[in-house]
């Protein structure tokens, strides 16, 4: 083991290298490209023994990654935003092939308007595909999650592909100290991929991805995927325990920050959770019993863990760094549906913030936390709040005047 200062992207590349991936089809897109360039260099230098190919699109890239996995190789690929959407058809297809592909998505807001900085509309668009999703806050977590993802995906009770998500710029280009494990240590945790269910070889012809006629067969295979995803909740705990034994770091499905004794809880995902944790500290200093829950496993949705963590809290505010146009925060809806049948359930508030990489300042967090407190006092959760500061409003006004729309 050694410590290095690594960006989120470099940490991702290290995860792939340590997992001794066989096959890497790629396609460049900001802010993901550093991952595939790092891997290309390692392969060119001979420190990594993988086949690497630049495809003509993310649609082709996902197909090649999935079909290599269906042949029996351990495959990896990476993308972001527009690329994820360009390959979207194949997300459903590859998940249906039941192959344990691991893909990194480096979150970035979706066009239009075209932009580079992160929010989670890209990765959450893939939430129904069958891919499991692990969302990361730190560079260390990115590396570790890739190793855990292969273990989880390749488990015979699961056999579904996984997206490991990290925020563009805020994590992809931020250096943090990362413990890089030794490859022997990783081999103990992650054995060779030797599939019994899906491969291509001359002596055992196999028809994969056959068509079905009618809803009975179709439903059967879809239900199988859903049940496998549900199985993954228990398998995840095993993987988590073994990872902790091997590497000394623990990653549960959710991470609680000052949750014990908290009455008011923020729910967040990914790198902005770090800002949320600082806001919790500030609130505590003001005498407000705040805490934060970071959702790490987004698919399968850790319903039981969530309920146990928040059903007896006074109030919960979901800060969605995404927007389902015409509905609101995606995770807010998902969390609300978990709590609906609970006898004890907190007041649930919804905030949209951090779209397209928009910062969430301490003032904005203070506003949100004050809203939670007054919400409890008035027993009114209100409607979804679209967070935007006065300063931003004024600046936008200036830009509009320059554009002749003032």
């Amino acid at each position: 083991m050694r410590k290095e200062m690594l960006t989120g992207n470099a940490a991702a590349a290290w995860g792939v290298r340590l997992a001794e991936v066989d096959y890497i089809p790629v396609y460049p897109i900001t802010p993901q490209t550093e991952i595939i360039e790092t891997l290309a260099k390692w392969i060119s230098d001979g420190v990594m023994d993988s086949r690497y190919v630049t495809m003509d699109s993310e649609h082709s890239m996902l197909t090649a990654a999935g079909s290599a996995s269906a042949t029996g190789a351990r495959a990896f690929t990476a993308t972001s935003s527009q690329g994820l959407l360009y390959g979207f058809e194949m997300l459903y297809a590859v998940a249906g092939w039941r192959v344990p592909l691991v893909m990194v998505n480096v979150s970035r807001g979706l066009s239009s308007p075209i932009t580079l900085e992160p929010d989670h509309n890209d990765v959450l668009a893939a939430r129904d595909t069958g891919f499991l999703q692990i969302h990361c806050e730190t560079c260390q977590e990115v590396l570790d999650s890739i190793l855990m993802a292969y273990r989880l995906a390749e488990d015979e009770r699961v056999l579904l592909p996984i997206i490991v998500n990290l925020d563009g710029f805020y994590l992809s280009f931020t250096r943090e100290p990362v413990a890089v494990p030794d490859v022997e240590q990783v081999r103990n945790f992650l054995p060779l991929y030797q599939p019994k269910h899906a491969f291509f070889k001359a002596s055992q012809p196999m028809a994969q991805s056959a068509a079905v006629l009618g809803g009975s067969s179709y439903s059967y295979f879809k239900y199988q995927m859903h049940m496998a995803s549900q199985n993954a909740l228990a398998v995840y705990k095993e993987v988590c325990d073994e990872f902790e034994t091997g590497f000394g770091r623990n990653y549960d499905t959710i991470e609680g920050y000052m949750l014990d004794g908290a009455e008011y809880v923020l729910i967040m995902t990914n790198s902005f959770s770090t800002l949320g944790k600082a806001a919790v500290n500030n609130a505590r200093e003001r005498g407000i019993k705040a805490g934060l829950l970071r959702l790490r496993l987004v698919r399968p949705f850790p319903v039981a863990d969530l309920k146990a963590a928040i059903s007896r809290k006074k109030a919960v505010a979901v800060i969605d760094q995404n927007i389902s146009i015409g509905k609101g925060g995606i995770l807010h809806s998902e969390i609300a549906s978990c709590l609906y049948n609970e006898k004890h359930r907190p007041l649930l508030l919804s905030f949209i913030a951090g779209l397209g990489g928009k910062n969430i300042s301490p003032d904005e967090f203070e506003f949100i936390i004050n809203k939670i407190v007054t919400g409890v006092d008035t027993e009114d959760a209100g409607t979804a709040q679209l967070i935007y500061t006065d300063k931003e409003w004024q600046e936008m006004g200036r830009l509009k005047r320059m554009a002749g729309k003032g």
Partner: protein, 328 residues
Amino acid sequence: MAGNGEIKEDGGKGVKDMVMERIKSIKDIPPEENMLPGTPACAGCGGLLALRHCMKALGRKIVIVNAAGCFTLLTIYPYTPFKNSWLYTAMACAPAGAQGIRDALDILIKKGRLDPEEDLKVVVLTGDGSAYDMSLSSTSGAINRNLDFYYICYDNESYGNTGVQWSGATPFASKTGTTPPGRICPIGSELAKKDLFAIWNSHKPPYLATISPAHPVDLINKFKKAEQYKGPKLFIALSPCPPGWGIDSSYTVKLAKLAVDTGVWALKEAVFGVVTHTVVPKRFKQVEEYLQVQGRFAHLFKPVRQEAALNKIQEEVNEYWNRHKLLL
């Protein structure tokens, strides 16, 4: 990595030897059937007949990578007519699927995790709509990377599976569901069929050929010749389609033959870009003979003869063969 144009090592067997293995008559066609009957394809499907011959040439140690189209329904859970492996991908990306499989087989063999005896030929199977339109990008990439694979395009000149609509392979003046002849547009399809052979050939692949289900000897020999090359080996089969073309299912072979005899479908091959015609009719029949038996061209004859359109079609065929100095 194999450079463009690498020839497979074949234990000292040169190109000439391979050519000498050419079959001479229909009696020499391998009797083994690698695709069994009982598929949901239409009676008289020309594409299926072409595929049956291709499968005889390819043998059983193959994996077919399929794109959305009629032949996707050859493998419906839990049935398959094939004795070989199969992977359905999606409409745009069968060549990318082939890339992943080929690369995975190669790396597994290299790392000693797969016995070389277990190796497979990777065979893309798509319709024209996929080949001429949606998967041009993934195909171009695969050829450019010199991917070692076969590509069989059964060209029924339409999006057949969705009920016969215009595709990039639909010929001028053809009636399809989306090019219906009418008062404003009496011609039907106003666009020319794309020249996929030329598009693919611009990449100078090791081997590229047009084939016909009515010329199985030519077809088998082309596969035999292709076998010596490592890299892309590409085939386009003009495939009469009874419901799409408006012909009786017993007419398939006759029409496939007429397409060649009238010069509409040129049987040819290209080795690293150099084109040779393999079947040149001694006397070309008039194109009209081919057109008038097909429902999709009926509007060119009734209620009024569309002389200009008919002439244009004949002239284009003449021009092609003149250009190649083969019109006798």
